[in-house]
Structure formats: C-alpha cells, structure tokens
Symmetry: C2
C-alpha cells in the first residue's frame, strides 16, 4: 500500500447494508478452503494455512494445491471443486494473475465468501485494475462476498470460531475491541503492540483494496456483533463518504446501544499541500474537512495508534462517563500536576468536591496530604489511604471519572493497593463512574498492573495517556448528549435560482447572476444594478441612494481588489461619475472593452465584521459548508469549520460559536455582539441552496458583512462556480 | 510536594557558579555518614542505608544512630562526631525537627556536603519555613552544600563511584543522561519507566525544596561532567529565572560542546487561570511565557515524560542532526504515512532524493516498491532490501536523519534486519547522520529491539515518537545555528524619561507623561496637546493640522473607548468644537469635573494594521517583552510571543515573523507588506526602555498602528504602570 495524499473516489456501487449481509460466511465459516497453499514455511501461502490449524479453528480446513497430495499433514485437493463437502469460505493466496480462474471455480462450488490475500491488483497500476474489476464481477455475479484483494486477512477470536485467516504470526487474545485497517502491515504491528499491553480483540480485518467489502459494510456487521463493544478503524482513502457518515451516526449514535467508533485518517499533512483556486477549495482539501466529518458523525478521531488504544481500553471496559468532571488520586505531587495539565489542556475539568468529601478526606488522610483535587495521599501512602480517598470520590456526585496515580516509592505496597482498587471497582460497579489507573514505571509496578488488567481496569504507564482517553470518552458523551434538531427548510424562490443556474454553462456565474441566485434564496443582498456608462451609473446611484460602491464586472477578473476594480463610499453624483471614468480607464489598460461587461453600482454596506461562508463539493463527501473569519484573516489563521450539507439547526449554531475567533463576533471589550442569528440564517440558507443544486461546485460569500445583533448582515462579495456533478456522494 | 499553580519567587541568594562548586562531595564522596538510620526494613531511614550498601558503593558508609550498636551488620556510631575517620557526605534522614542539631554536628565534623531526605520544612508551612532557614544558615556558615530537604536523594551510576543515596528501589543502569527533578515521587516513576526501556542514567537528583543547591548549580555541575551528554529537568517552580536562562544558554549553546537541556514545566494550565489587569499581564502569567523563555535559552521544552525520554535517547546516542530533512524506510505503507503525518506536522521535511539515490533504489528494490520518500520496501522485504535502501539514503547528501520502520510480517526476518541496521550504523559512523528505528509491536519484535539497543540505536515502539524526537533535535540544531546578534543601544534622551518616571508615584502615568517617556526614547509619537476648553482644543487643532482625534484624559478612566472617550477623524474647527462639548457633557455624567484632567487633541493617525507591544515584569524572569496582533484580535487568538528583556537584533526580527498572524503583516493577497522594520525598531527601543527603568511594572502600546513598508508606524495608545521593583531577577 503506497502513500495516499488525499481521498480518492473509486466507483464502488452503493449497496443496501442490511444485517450481516453475507459477511457471516467470512467471520463464522464452518469450512474453509485455502487455494494456492504450498509446503514452504515462511511463505504467505503456507503460513496462512498453518495459522488456521494452529489457532485451533472450530471447523474443517481444506488445502487446495494442484499436484500436491498433502500440506502440513492434511489431505490436499487439486481444485476447489474436488472437495467432496460444502465449503463456506475460500482464502485465495494465488498470485494475482491466477486468481480469476480460482475464483470462478469457487463460484462453481457455491462458496459464499472469499478472502483474497494476493497482491497484484489495483495497487500495481492499470493491468491490475482491470484484473480487480474482473474478480469483482465474478464475485458479484456468483453471489460471493469478498475481502481484499491485497490484504493480510481476517481474524475472529470468538471461542466457538477461533479463525486466524491471516498471515499474522499469532492469534490475539479474545476481547471486545474490533479493528479494521486499510494498511495490512499496520495490522501486524498493532497485533504485536496490543499483545504487549494485554489488549484483546474480537474481530480483526485487513481491508486491502476493498474491491467488494469496505469499511461501511463491516461497520454495520460489527454494529450487530454482540462480541464487539468498540470499533477501531485506520483509513487512508475514504471511498463512500456519505455512507460512512450515515453508518457512523447510526452506530455511534445509537441511543439504546451506543458503540463508539475510533478512527485514524492517514495522510493528513500531504493533503494540505494540494493547492487550490478559491479559499474554500484550498481549505477543504485538508485535515479540517475530516475533522468536521468525524465531529458531525460522532467518530472519535485519534492522532496515533497509542491514543486509539488508550481510548479503546477505557471504552471497552468501563462505563461511558457522564461528563468531563474528573478526580485524581495520587501518591506524588509531580505526576498529579502533569496529569492535571494534560487533562485540563484537553478540555476536562477537575471536579469540585462536596463538603462531605472534603470532611471524609480530612478524617482519613494525614495533615500534609492535599485534600483538594488532585488528592495527594503522599509518598508513604499504603492501601488504606488509597481506599479512603477512592471511597470519598466515588461517593461524590460531582465526580464522573476517577484516575488513580501510583509511583513506586519504597513504602508503596503496590500489589495491595492494586487489589484495593479492584475492590473499590467491584463495590462501586453500579456507580456509573469510570475508573482508570496509572501505575507509573515499568518493572516494579508490573505485578500491580497485571492485577488491575485482570480486573479489566484500564491501565496507562503515563497519566497523560489516561487524560487523552478520559477526554475522548467525555467528548463522545457530549456528542451523544447533543441537542437533536432538524434541517430547517426555508420557503425560497427555487424557480428563479434554477432559471439562472440551469441556463448557465460550467464555470463562474457573473456577479449579477450569482446575486440573483442568492436573492432568490433570501440572502441579504443589497440593491444594485449594472451600468455601461457614467451617466447610467449616476442614474442608478440617484435611484438607490448614496453612498454607493462601484465594482467591475468582467469574466476576466476574479480578484477585483487587485486590479483596483472596487471603489467604496461614493457620496455624490459627481464622485460616482469621476470614479466610473477613472476605473474604466484604468481597467482598459488591462482588459479589452469587450471583456468589460460593465461596472456595478451597489448601495454601500455599513461597516461590520467580515466573515466568510463557503461551499465546496468534496469528491468524497459531496457538498461541504465552510464558515470562518473573513477578510485577510481567513488566510492567516485558517480558523475555519466545516460541515456536510445539509446542516441541522444545531450545527449552524455550533459553527458560528466554535471558531477560536468566535469571541470576536460575540463582542469583546465593550463592543456590541454581532448578529449571530443572521449568520446562522445565512448558513442554513446556503446549505439548502447547495443541497438543491448539485451543479454548484464552489461558492464563496467573502465577505459577509455582519452588523451588531438585530441589525442583520449583508453579502459583500459572491462567487459561484458551476460544474457537472461527477461525484457520487454515497 | 503539593501542586504549584505558578512560579513562586523565593529569596535564594545569587551565587557564583564556578566549576563543581563543592558539589563533588555530593556526587563523588569517598565516605558517607547516614544520620538517623534505623533497623526497620521498609522505612526510609533503613532503606537508604541498605541501598548504599547493596549498590556496591565504592567507599565507606557509616551508620549513625544513637544507642544502636550496628545497622544491617555494620558498626554504628551514636553521633557523627564519633566517627574516627574523615567524612565527605552526610545523609540526614532524621525527622525535620531534629535535623538542626545533627547538621550542626556535621559542620563540627568538617563534612562538606549533605543530603537532607527528611520532610517537614518549607512544604508544611510557617514553622517549617523557619526550620529550613535555620538549616540553610547552619550549612552556609559551615561551608556545607546541601541537597534537599524533602527529597528522594541522589544517584551517581559511574562505575568508580556507584552511589545510590536515595530510597529508590533499584540503581539504574549506567548511561549518558542526567535527570533533575523537583518532584521526588516522579523520580521513582521515571527510574522504573526508564528501566523498562533500557535507558541508563549518569546522575539522578531529586531537588526537593532547593534550600541550598538548585537546578542552576546542578546545571553547571553537569555541564562539566564528562559522563553527562544530555540533561533532563522536571521543574514546578522556577526561583532564579535569569540565572537559569544564562546557565542554559551557556551550556546548551556551547559551540564547542553543546549539551542539550530538556525540560518539563509542571503547572501550565493552572497558571493560565490567574486573572490579571492588562493584556500583557494576563498573557504573561501563562504557558506562553515559559515557551518564550525556553525558546530564548535553547531549552527543549517537552510536554510529557515520554517525549522527554524519546528525545533524550536520540541526543544521548546519535549525532545531532544537521537539519530537518529526514528519510523514512519502511516495510509498510500505513505506518509510513502516519510517521510522515507526524513528522511534517511537527516541522520536519521529507528529503528530496538525489537522482543517484533513486537510481540505486530502482536497481535494488522490486517494481512495486515505493522509491520516493518514504521508501516502502514492501511487506515481504528481508534484510537485503533494508540494506540497499539504507545505503542509498545514507549516501544521499540531502538526508540528515533516517528513520527505519519495521512491521513484523510473517516473512520479516526481524533479527537479521536489526543486525543489518547495526552494520549500516557502524559503516556510516562518520556520516554525521542520525539513525532511529521503530520496530512496531511488542512481543515478536522484542529480540530485534534488543539488538538495536545494544548498538545504541534509539528505538521507538511507535514511529510518531521517533518523529517527536527528530523534530526536537532539529529544533535544537536550528537554535544552535541561529544568527548571533548583539543588543542594539539607541541614543535616547534618558534624562527626560527619567525626569517623568522618577518623579511619578507608583501607579499609572497619565497619557501625556507616558507619551513624553516614549518620545524621549524615540518612539513614533504623533503631535498632541491637552485642552481644557473647546476654544483651546480648536486652537491646538489649528496648530497641529486636521484631521485630529479627541481623547479623554482622566486618572479614573482606563478603557477610553468604553466610555466614548475617543472621537476620531475631526476635519474642521467646527467639528472639533462640537465633539469637545459633546464628549465633555457625556463624561461628566460618569466622573466629576475634578477627575477630568482634560481632553487631548492629537493628530489623526492614518489607517494601518494594529499590533500590540507590551512589557510585563514577571516575578521570576523580570521584564518580558510581548508582541502580538493588536486590537480585538489579541484577545481572540492569543497569538503573542514573548522574550526576556533586553532582546537582541535577531530576536526582534524573529518576534515579528513568528506569529501565526505574521502573514497578515507581510502582505496577503496583493496587500502591501507592513513596515516590519519599524515594528522591530519599536520593539528594540521598548526593550531598552524597560531595561533602563526597573520601576516599569507594565507597559502596553496597544495599538501601534503600522503603515506599509517604508512609511513607519505610530503609537495610538499607551499605558505605563510603575511599581517599586520587588523582583530579584537573578
């Protein structure tokens, strides 16, 4: 798998994702044929077969290898059709070029599912792509589901299955975490990493080229899998953006049985390097888009494998925290300070204790202890002090998550403290509180850590890692508890907008056309008209009232200000005439009279805050709505936020409030707050407009001038680019 | 040690930090007396003594315990004065209250150094503080150096010493890293953590209350210690800010023998919560100040223990990289992508290969491999491919750092690849290139990791950690290579400024006074005068020329705009008169005529970009200079940068360019660039002013209006607060 720099859309056909959907034959087969197996240890075709046997698969495995009598002591068959019994799952380890014939025989045999380990398909170029399309077609026609090609395989640890259909060296322990990875090699690393941390798995899938089964199918399968509590995904390219979002919202947002999804999106920074024409475009092809998509879908975005597993451990084994209020109990000040820095820096809060808690702590702890949060039971603490502190915080209703820190000092009876923590966990099993531990160190603390892990208490070598996990869990809780609102539909003049858009060719609309479209959708557009002469300009200005602005209109000019194509604040007929003539003369040095459509006369918009609203059609996710601080600051700060169209009421409200710069709009230092409601209104109208017209490829309202609360906003500049919609935003 | 919320200045006396400075008696004693030792295993007084023996200390240890004949089989003495031989180092484990007498006897005995493990001093309140002052005085008078009190002790692993004067459970392995910690408990955790990662140490010091020896003394000692290559510090309170900076600059910045210093400052977020009056004040008491101080001193700031040790491993065992250009060699695409994301996200660059390199790779690797950076030798790679790829990048002059990633796939011969990497390291030992590895996983890769570690090749379980380390090393290299400039001294009218400042009481200067000070120091102040009547205002305006601005002057009004105390752009005598009367009437509703000093008439400053320049007197570091984007944005973005006064030429230049918003000043989208030279000039003048007048507690030029390049800047508002200097900025 080579490095992908951005999302690449492939032509995967959408599919109804009903329960299981044929995937049980992959995860829970009764009989398996391995095609292409050899007798040479250390090669994939051999190791896969041996792994199946040595993991004690609860079913029958048939080696298929022409002209071989037996493989690793098991009777072999020349072809899959020679196998006398029914077969559920075929694993193909043939070289890519030979797979086609083997797969045809699988269909003939009536096999319901296949895992194609072999490489040599789409990833090697055009010929491979053709091969991949052909095997896909064979499988589709034959009613077979396929994992791969070019993958590491599939693992299911369930004790009544025990399937290690992969070339990973060892079967992982059984657990409640399932992992999907687009990088096969990452799978082997993750399995080994998790083994070192005593992390178990339920299902483990190397996605490979995703010719047939992709992450969306698997998400639905895992959603219905009672053995999976947490789903982890490593993705490089996202092919079915909308479907992924829908699946994630349904699964992670299932109120009755929320199943958290954690994802790493590889290829963040390279993507940002792709240059693009408009601001929306440039900013859309970046990490911010994925952040917006994940945020909107309830997917917990992780920056690293470590963060992903740290969080997964908490979510797999502990109740989802009620909120972001934590308590820390430590026997060492320094680590308490560092954990607090990390936690508060993330967004967690140190719980304020009830008076009863403080009283209990005062009674149980020595005078030198710190009774405030973080509670410091001091270096010579033994299990009794930990027990007293933990009882106190578990009974405090202001505490939702509890982090226990231990440093191995010479008086620290590590194992006894670990057992005490396990007791507390059991006694407060119904408290709904999350319990995490950090026994800092490595060697001395190892036996204590093992006691904790046996009791399924998440453990982290460093307290900062626990803070990451606590924050991700709290974020997910906030997302689950978010206000649920609908998409607001405005009464608009759809016909008038359609008349403009449907008649226009691909490319930019003129400013007049673009303003007509906005006007039809109820945007606050100011009065304007196109002038072809100074006289006409003055007449228009007289009609709409002074002061006015002159703005060049020409298909050749995209950035008006740079060619001095905008003159502001003209207060009289004389000023308008003079400005018109000056601008016209200046422009004709750059463009021909033919290319100068005219000069627009527009009522001057009063001063206000500049914001930018944009739409960009992402090749994977379809229309994305962007909001940010306007003017030159949008480029300097990249302080923008994205949502997939259409947006709900609550999303509009969040967008205008979640920028780092939102405080500027909310009124700083005695300034009047800006009209946030008017911005929200514009965002929702823009969402509706984009949703109604798939041909809108790009739209920038930059700036939208926002006035103080109650005084609305005005569109100061607009650009709309149309292009035939080549995106299947599935 | 309880949680510290901000830097606390204590009254440590400055001291000449000459080489060793008596600290050899602490780290390399020939004989040690342990005072207060007991026969009860599991207690500090007993364990310390046993640790000294069991770590095979290369000298004599004398237990001192009244009325005990022997301790752990060793002949004991009633009092330290009873010991018949000379003693270099005393370790005191008596309860705090008893220490005084014991220490007096140590002085009597002629002992040169002491480590006071005992708690019960400054950390327990007033009585303890008095006790601490007393033992400090005894030691100072007796010529003894002291570590502690309230600490874990000291470790020196050097084979001819082998000193474990601590209650840490085990002596760490010998290594080139020295560690200083203000949190004793963190020491025990760090020792155990490092043991699990095969990290060795040279010196290990728990600082405790720092009654005598602090981090600055120890930095100088370690700077002269041939066994220390890297210094790590965990600090909560910084007591001698300037001395710390000076020491760090000398040690980390020693061109002949640069010794990197890595630091964690605990208590970042809580500090930020402290509210303050002015913007400079509010922003100063935050993490940004420490960031500025560390940046200026060449200290590598680490956010976590993990980042600190990841970086220390690289710096201890590998050459300092020439620059930020890295090459990645991997057998797995996904981890390559993740490492690239992490590296580029930090500031590292993927090296562009020379054509010869690409040719070598094409020859040696299979067609499906990725020959570009990151080089993917693909999943079935054995040691030959790794060797070929590594040779190619080691011979490419565009590469400064090399990261090798391995995922354990079934064909991966992990140990052979590890040995190959070691060979490459030896063969290219003189290339000056940094080599790091990430064998991802835990169990399967363990033997390979051990091979690497034996060859002192830094190893990281996750490639992202390696990226952190590579970036920190590259940052340090950039700092070492920075342009060295001097502090520029302007010819200024010091006398005129002194006349204002020396005459004024503590508190705010009036605007007129403040402007006089700035004017004397050559700041671009516009013409102005104070009016007491409308007639006078008109006369002044006539004299200085229109348009003008009216600004209220009153000791009662700090935020002029909020009370409508500023009226801009008055173009005629009539407008001035009307505005004067209007403002006066409005103000008199809020304040008495007595409190209205007058209304200042000032020439109107042309439109420009707003920036803020500030000075704040930090209790630890003394005068700090601040620069940021002005107006309301300074609050929204907190995009500010700090330096300790006085600043050098290069610092001024960096300050105006290192903001996230600097692109706004440099001219975006066809805008003219702002006059950066004028801002730099103002920053350097401000540095000189603050340096000349210790009584300046706070100074805000907010905003400074900056015009296009060559057109200068103007002070639009100024506030100066004076306060007697209680800070010893040592």
């Amino acid at each position: 798998m080579s490095m992908t720099t951005t999302h690449i859309a492939t032509e995967t056909t959408p599919r109804d994702d009903s329960v299981h959907n044929g995937l049980d034959a992959i995860f829970r087969p009764s009989s398996i044929a391995v095609l292409g197996v050899t007798n040479t240890p250390g090669t994939v075709p051999h190791d896969i077969f041996v792994n199946l046997l040595s993991s004690r698969f609860n079913g029958v495995v048939y080696p298929v290898a022409p002209r071989k009598k037996h493989i690793a002591g098991v009777r072999a068959y020349d072809y899959v059709i020679d196998i006398p019994d029914p077969v559920d799952l075929a694993i193909l380890v043939f070289p890519g070029a030979v797979c086609e014939r083997a797969l045809t025989q699988c269909v003939e045999k009536g096999i319901k599912a296949g895992i194609i380990i072999s490489a040599g398909f789409r990833e090697v170029g055009e010929a491979g792509k053709v091969r991949e399309e052909r095997i896909k077609a064979i499988a589709r026609e034959g009613g077979m589901r396929l994992i791969g090609p070019n993958c590491l395989g599939v693992i299911n640890t369930e004790s009544d299955v025990r399937l290690n259909a992969s070339f990973a060296r060892a079967m992982p322990a059984e657990g409640r975490i399932s992992f999907l990875s687009q990088s096969g090699a990452l799978c082997t690393a993750v399995l080994d990493y998790a083994a070192g941390k005593n992390i178990g798995f339920s299902k483990f899938v190397s996605l490979g080229n995703k010719a047939d089964v992709g992450e969306v199918d698997l998400l639905y399968y895992l959603a219905n899998d009672p053995k999976t509590s947490v789903i982890l995904i490593y993705l490089e390219e996202i092919t079915r953006g909308r479907a992924l979002m829908k699946a994630a919202r349904e699964i992670a947002g299932n109120q009755a049985n929320p199943k958290p999804i954690l994802a790493i999106k590889g290829g963040r920074t390279a993507a940002g390097a792709a240059a693009a024409q408009s601001h929306t475009g440039a900013l859309a092809a970046s990490a911010e888009v994925c952040d917006g998509v994940f945020e909107q879908s309830g997917i917990i975005r992780c920056a690293s494998i470590e963060e992903m597993f740290n969080t997964a451990q908490l979510l797999a084994d502990q109740p989802l925290p009620r909120d972001e209020r934590i308590a820390i109990v430590t026997n060492a000040g320094g680590p308490g300070v560092m954990a607090t820095d990390a936690a508060v820096g993330q967004g967690l809060k140190l719980a304020s204790f009830e008076p009863a808690t403080t009283a209990k702590l005062k009674k149980a702890l020595p005078a030198a202890a710190n009774m405030k949060n973080p509670i410091d039971v001091i270096g010579d603490a033994r299990e009794d002090r930990y027990a007293a502190a933990l009882e106190a915080v578990f009974e405090d209703k202001n505490v939702s998550q509890v982090l226990v820190i231990l440093t191995p000092q010479s008086m620290t009876n590590i194992n006894a403290i670990a057992r005490t923590i396990c007791d507390i966990k059991d006694r407060y099993a119904n408290s709904g509180k999350t319990l995490l531990c950090s026994f800092m160190g490595s060697k001395d603390v190892a036996p204590g850590i093992e006691i904790l892990q046996q009791h399924r208490i998440p453990h982290y070598i460093l307290p900062e890692w626990a803070s990451d996990a606590m924050w991700n869990a709290a974020w997910y809780r906030q997302w689950l508890d978010r206000e649920r609102t609908e998409v607001q539909i405005y009464p608009v003049d759809h016909k008038r907008a359609a008349a403009v858009i449907d008649a226009a060719p691909d490319g930019y609309l003129s400013e007049a056309e673009a303003l007509k479209v906005l006007d039809a959708y109820g945007f606050p557009v100011v009065e304007h008209a196109l002038a072809q002469s100074a006289d006409e300009a003055v007449a228009i200005a007289d009609r709409i009232g002074y002061p006015v602005v002159l703005r060049v209109v020409s298909p050749k000019i995209l950035h008006k200000v740079e060619v001095k194509g905008v003159i502001l604040n003209l207060g009289s007929a004389g000023e308008v005439r003079e400005a018109y003539c000056g601008m016209r003369d200046h422009l004709l040095k750059h463009i021909t009279a033919e290319d100068l459509t005219g000069i627009m006369v527009r009522r001057m918009i009063p001063v206000g805050k500049e914001v930018i609203l944009g739409v960009n059609r992402d090749p994977v996710f379809g229309h994305m709505l962007m909001f940010g601080l306007g003017g030159i600051y949008v480029e300097a700060f990249k302080d923008v936020t994205f949502r997939i169209v259409p947006i709900r009421e609550s999303a509009a409200s969040k967008m205008v409030r979640e920028l780092r710069t939102s405080s500027v709009l909310q009124g700083l230092r005695g300034e009047e707050p800006s009209d946030l409601a008017a911005i929200e209104d514009a965002l929702k109208r823009l969402s509706q407009l984009a949703n109604d017209f798939p041909r809108i490829a790009e739209l920038d309202i930059n700036p939208l001038i926002v006035h103080p609360a109650g005084q609305g906003c005005h569109v100061a500049d607009i650009r709309i680019r149309l292009q035939k919609n080549g995106v299947k935003a599935d």
